[in-house]
């Protein structure tokens, strides 16, 4: 039993994340292939939309993988290869949207909301009325308390 668990853990740890890239698609040059994979991971597969083209088995993803590898082999820089795809499919293909006026809300609203929240918390704490100090017990109350404590013992 323990052995099975250990084996399972080892397998989970060492099996690399399965990519959809087929052996036939890979470039012989490992440096180019690594660049192509890095680019492919940034690009959205438009058929499945939440997978990168590197992860997707869709036909179009396959075509785009091959295309990017062709572009890199032809001497494109990474930026040129990415631009080739965004020119045709728009910025939506980028899994990480670029920072530009149209995406400012997306990028900066979390910080704006955090700032507003911090400001609100600061104002609240600053204007909080101090809790009045406890009034001391009078004689009757003290007696009652002593009685109760004695009863408890």
């Amino acid at each position: 039993m323990i052995r099975a668990v250990v084996v399972a853990a080892l397998l989970l740890g060492f099996v690399p994340a399965a990519l959809a890239v087929e052996p036939g698609e890979m470039l012989a040059n490992p440096q180019l292939e690594a660049r192509a994979e890095a680019i492919g991971k940034q690009l959205r597969c438009l058929v499945c939309q939440n997978e990168s083209i590197e992860d997707s088995n869709a036909d179009l993803a396959h075509d785009l993988r091959v295309l990017i590898r062709n572009r890199l082999t032809a001497g494109d820089t990474d930026a040129q290869a990415i631009k080739f795809v965004t020119d045709r499919y728009g910025d939506f293909v980028l899994l990480k949207p670029p920072v530009e006026p149209a995406t400012y809300v997306l990028w900066f609203s979390p910080f704006a909301i955090l700032t507003i929240g911090a400001l609100g918390a600061w104002l609240y704490i600053r204007h909080r009325r101090p809790v009045p100090p406890d009034e001391p017990l009078d004689l009757n109350q003290r007696r009652k308390l002593e009685r109760l404590l004695l009863e408890d013992q």
Binding site: L46, V47, Q49, D59, L60, D63, L64, L67, T86, D87, R88, Y89, G90, D91, F92
Partner: protein, 180 residues
């Protein structure tokens, strides 16, 4: 200090605004899978495709000076069959110049498909590799593009055309581009 009291309502107001926005998103029929084309108002990509059945090749040179519609289809594509009667109707009424591009299809299969479901196209080019489709930004068939007299893409429709889309989008566009 009533305005301070009102401040406590702010989260509620925020929640209602957000809920209304989400409800709008769910109910307005917005489909995140339908993407705007990156090529709107840009020149249509250059291409030269083998004509179906040994016809002369189809190139974008054939479109110059005319308002044309280009429809990407495939024999293996089920929604294309759904769309076919609408395209046939447009062709019969002769309202648009419609060209077809067979996406990732064998010429024999495309020919058979057009025999079976009708051929609404003036001419058909065969894009067996799908490269021309990628240049257009196609990410599924069917897709329909409108190209104006200057060779610029003016409209893209993803998925099968519907009578509503023809009425509300295609016809007004046709009028605007001054075709007939």
């Amino acid at each position: 200090m009533t305005w301070r009291r009102a401040l406590y309502l702010l989260p509620l107001v925020g929640f209602v605004a957000l809920a209304a926005y989400f409800f709008y998103g769910l109910s307005s029929g917005y489909n995140p899978e339908l993407l705007p084309s990156a090529l709107i108002d840009k020149p249509a990509p250059q291409f030269q495709l083998a004509g179906l059945n040994g016809a002369v090749p189809l190139t974008n040179q054939d479109f110059t000076g005319q308002v044309v519609f280009v429809n990407f289809f495939a024999s293996w594509c089920a929604p294309c069959r759904e769309e076919s009667p609408i395209l046939m109707d447009l062709a019969r009424r002769n309202v648009i110049q419609l060209y077809g591009i067979a996406y990732k299809d064998k010429p024999a299969d495309a020919t058979k498909y057009l025999k079976e479901y009708g051929d609404p196209y003036r001419r058909v080019g065969v894009d067996e590799t799908g490269r021309t489709a990628i240049n257009f930004g196609v990410y599924g068939v069917p897709e329909t593009y409108a190209i104006d007299r200057n060779g610029h893409i003016r409209w893209r429709f993803v998925g099968p055309l519907t009578p509503q889309a023809v009425q509300s989008q295609l016809m007004p566009l046709l009028k605007k581009l001054g075709a007939s």
